[in-house]
């Protein structure tokens, strides 16, 4: 387990390998360092064990241990019936997964990246999302579509798109975007247990990042509710709302800004749809300033939706400045490193936007 070893080495003397078995009694609660990848793996492992209707299908998920090793070890443990390698035919296997969900199973359908989900998007929207409504409640579709979303590193235009806004647009879908290992584990377990179609947007660059996981989160019944944002950092001067990898950017920006006396409140959305507007409003009514941060393109995006919702609700009257959206640049993703780096929000962009919004 090279990645666990790496996280052990990286995190220093207090780190405990995620592989350590918790078979002996500990007198004090112990937090462990777990990578997002391992957290997702644990979530699927636990849910596969808990409910035999749950199964995983997708490209390279079984014998290859997963294109990004997220499903490592699962095929060995659960076999061909529960972990299924598919041909490279997204429209087909997504449709097959939806059909299986309609007939009583609880599939986890992996897209190697969400870019490839475009080949299958008709099945996700028209067959999965809308069916419960069209059938007036007779036919539910308890399915999870998961995989990495958004920009990676050097994978160029066709492999770097963020689909949060696309899926977030559709009624009938729940759309989740975890950041930390706890988010990943708790939200994936909730998604699998949810009786509705859930689009679960992971992030490839976060897979190897270790996070401390509380003892509570190590329980097999640990879930995080879908539709509830989390305040990752308290602050009084300005609210930063973000999701996925950009939570890290915002926390880093907040640390820098704190040195200048600007205290940011950082909200990790955790769920794109349904959007937890109340958490954002509560924060804005305290701080009077709002910056949204996302990797996706600006037009018709997550930040645009937040702006509209704030404007439509009570928090509007508490704003001392217009909301600022920090987004990806409105272009297809270029390949060259210097261009790619300038196509997505950097920490300095967040800092700059905060200061401009605060007019300092």
């Amino acid at each position: 387990m090279a990645s666990s070893l790496r996280c052990f080495l990286r995190t220093g003397k207090n780190a405990v390998s995620a592989l350590q078995r918790r078979e002996f009694h500990r007198t004090l609660p112990v937090a462990v360092q777990v990578t997002v990848r391992d957290a997702l793996n644990q979530a699927m492992d636990e849910e596969l064990e808990r409910d035999e209707r749950v199964f995983l299908l997708g490209e390279e998920v079984a014998q290859y241990d997963g294109a990004y090793k997220v499903s490592r070890g699962l095929w060995k443990k659960y076999g061909d019936k529960r972990i299924i390698d598919t041909p490279i035919t997204e429209m087909g296997f997504a449709g097959i997964a939806v059909g299986a969900a309609m007939a009583g199973l609880r599939p986890i359908c992996e897209f190697m990246t969400f870019n490839f989900s475009m080949q299958a998007i008709d099945q996700v929207i028209n067959s999965a999302a809308k069916t419960y409504y069209m059938s007036a409640g007779q036919q539910s579709v308890p399915i999870v579509f998961r995989g990495p979303n958004g920009a990676s590193a050097g994978v160029a235009a066709q492999h770097s798109q963020c689909f949060a806004a696309w899926y977030g647009h559709c009624p009938g879908l729940k759309v989740v975007s975890p950041w930390s290992a706890e988010d990943a584990k708790g939200l994936l377990k909730s998604a699998i247990r949810d009786d509705n179609p859930v689009v679960f947007l992971e992030n490839e660059l976060m897979y190897g990042v270790p996070f401390e996981m509380s003892e509570e989160s190590q329980s097999k019944d640990f879930t995080i509710p879908i539709g509830k944002a989390k305040v990752e950092r308290q602050g009084n001067h300005i609210t930063l709302v973000t999701h996925s990898r950009y939570v890290s950017h915002c926390l880093d920006a907040a640390a820098v800004l704190a040195k200048e006396g600007i205290e940011c409140e950082v909200i990790n959305l955790r769920t794109i749809r349904p959007l937890d507007v109340e958490s954002i409003e509560t924060s804005v009514m305290k701080t009077n300033h709002l910056v949204t941060v996302e990797g996706g393109w600006p037009q018709y995006g997550v930040g645009a939706e937040i702006c509209a919702r704030i404007m439509e609700g009570p928090a509007f009257n508490y704003l001392d400045a217009p909301v600022t959206r920090v987004t990806g640049v409105d272009i297809p993703m270029p390949y060259a490193k210097i261009l790619e780096d300038n196509s997505v929000p950097q920490i300095k962009d967040v800092i700059f936007s905060v200061k401009k919004t605060l007019n300092v």
């Binding site: 290859y64 035919t89 087909g92 080949q119 160029a156 990806g328 640049v329 409105d330 272009i331 210097i338």
Partner: protein, 388 residues
């Protein structure tokens, strides 16, 4: 009596004189006929010929092309491991006979489209090693100015370089439609792999191409593995040349450049005569894993890779054929190798020293033939410029 070159050089040494060995080309066989493997056919009365003619010049040219692609890919491997190339990199070594054989059989005015394992075709379609490597390293001298990367290289009559598995096949059928529409007697070579062979959009393309008799040569480069999945685990039928059902097909030894050339000629004639599309399955092999992040040995054995290398390497096979028929000398091949090595080295040198594209390039090329427009940056205070 004609002396062979080695005899001439020996004489020169003995005489103690520095003699420029003038190789008499009459020493070499100028042309030979080679037996090539018979192609299995589907819905065809007959297949490509069983013999291929090869001239000395052609042989050396095919050798040069294949060896250049081979060395270029190995250089890309090296640069990737040095982290000078990043992102995706899908290497073509082992499959050179396919690209070289196809190009030898079509005209420069014909069209070609493939998927992401595209560096070989980018070269055979006319892009220099220098521009390919510089694109891989993301520099402004790259064929796509560094904006496209490994999977998105283009040239006239070469439509990439496509990242989404299978998507290039309807595109290829569409290019063929344009050829037919314009009445220019051109064909489109549309390539895909054994992994893509199960994609629904292929069958949609086969149907329309057959209905409308589009001049499209669909070519399945079957290298036996779709990423980490062997063909038996992905396809209910691995007779990829038959998968077009009503579309005729031939199965070809993709490791033999002559076999590929003859089959492609046959296929091009079929299309140009208005008979509609045809499918070619090239049985080939990739030495590298699926991409640079796949070691390529978790789903196949090192012995298997080694066996193909020693028994079926396309470059070795051509070289041995020519040597055993006295069509060229070992020294000639060595000279070609040295020249190619230098070309690739120089290209790599350029690719590592050329600057990255300037930031002014960031937003250009959104629209064609459009007045300049403004593009939103990462925040509302940054407005960038985009020109066509």
């Amino acid at each position: 009596m004609l002396r062979c070159p080695c005899q001439v050089r020996h004489c020169a040494r003995v005489l103690g004189a520095r003699v420029v060995v003038s190789r008499s080309f009459a020493d070499f066989t100028p042309q030979a006929s080679f037996d090539i493997k018979k192609c299995d056919v589907h819905r065809l009365e007959e297949g490509p010929p069983l013999k291929a003619e090869l001239t000395r010049e052609q042989g050396l040219q095919y050798y040069r092309i294949m060896q250049t692609v081979r060395r270029m890919e190995l250089k890309a491997d090296q640069l990737y491991k040095q982290k000078i190339i990043r992102g995706f990199c899908h290497l073509y070594d082992g499959q050179e006979a396919c690209a070289a054989g196809i190009e030898a059989a079509i005209n420069p005015s014909d069209h070609l489209i493939t998927a992401y394992r595209a560096h070989g075709y980018t070269y055979t379609r006319g892009v220099s090693v220098k521009e390919i490597l510089a694109e891989l390293t993301g520099r402004k001298g790259g064929v796509a100015k560094g904006k496209g990367g490994s999977m998105h290289m283009y040239a006239p009559r070469f439509y990439g370089g496509n990242g989404i598995v299978g998507a290039q096949v309807p595109l290829g059928a569409g290019i063929a439609l344009a050829c037919q529409y314009q009445g220019n007697d051109q064909v489109c070579v549309t390539l895909y792999g054994d992994g893509a062979a199960n994609q629904g959009q292929l069958f949609e393309s086969f149907n329309m191409a057959a209905l409308w008799k589009l001049p499209c040569i669909f070519i399945c480069e079957n290298n036996q593995y779709g990423m980490g999945t062997s063909m038996e685990r992905a396809s209910a039928s691995t007779d990829y040349y038959k998968r077009g059902d009503f579309v005729p097909g031939i199965r070809v030894d993709g490791m033999d450049v002559l076999c590929v050339r003859e089959a492609t000629k046959f296929a091009a004639d079929h299309c140009r005569s208005g008979k509609g599309p045809i499918i070619m399955e090239l049985q080939t092999y990739r030495y590298h894993g699926h991409s640079m992040s796949d070691p390529g040995v978790s789903y196949r054995t090192r012995e298997e890779i080694q066996e193909v290398r020693s028994k079926s390497d396309p470059i070795s096979m051509l070289k041995e054929r020519m040597l055993s028929n006295n069509m060229a000398s070992i020294e000639e091949f060595k000279e070609i190798d040295v020249a190619i090595r230098k070309e690739v080295e120089d290209a790599a040198q350029f690719a590592t020293s050329d600057p990255e594209p300037p930031l002014e390039e960031l937003c250009n090329h959104i629209f064609h033939n459009n007045p300049p427009l403004e593009v939103r940056g990462t925040n509302p205070w940054v407005t960038l410029k985009s020109v066509s």
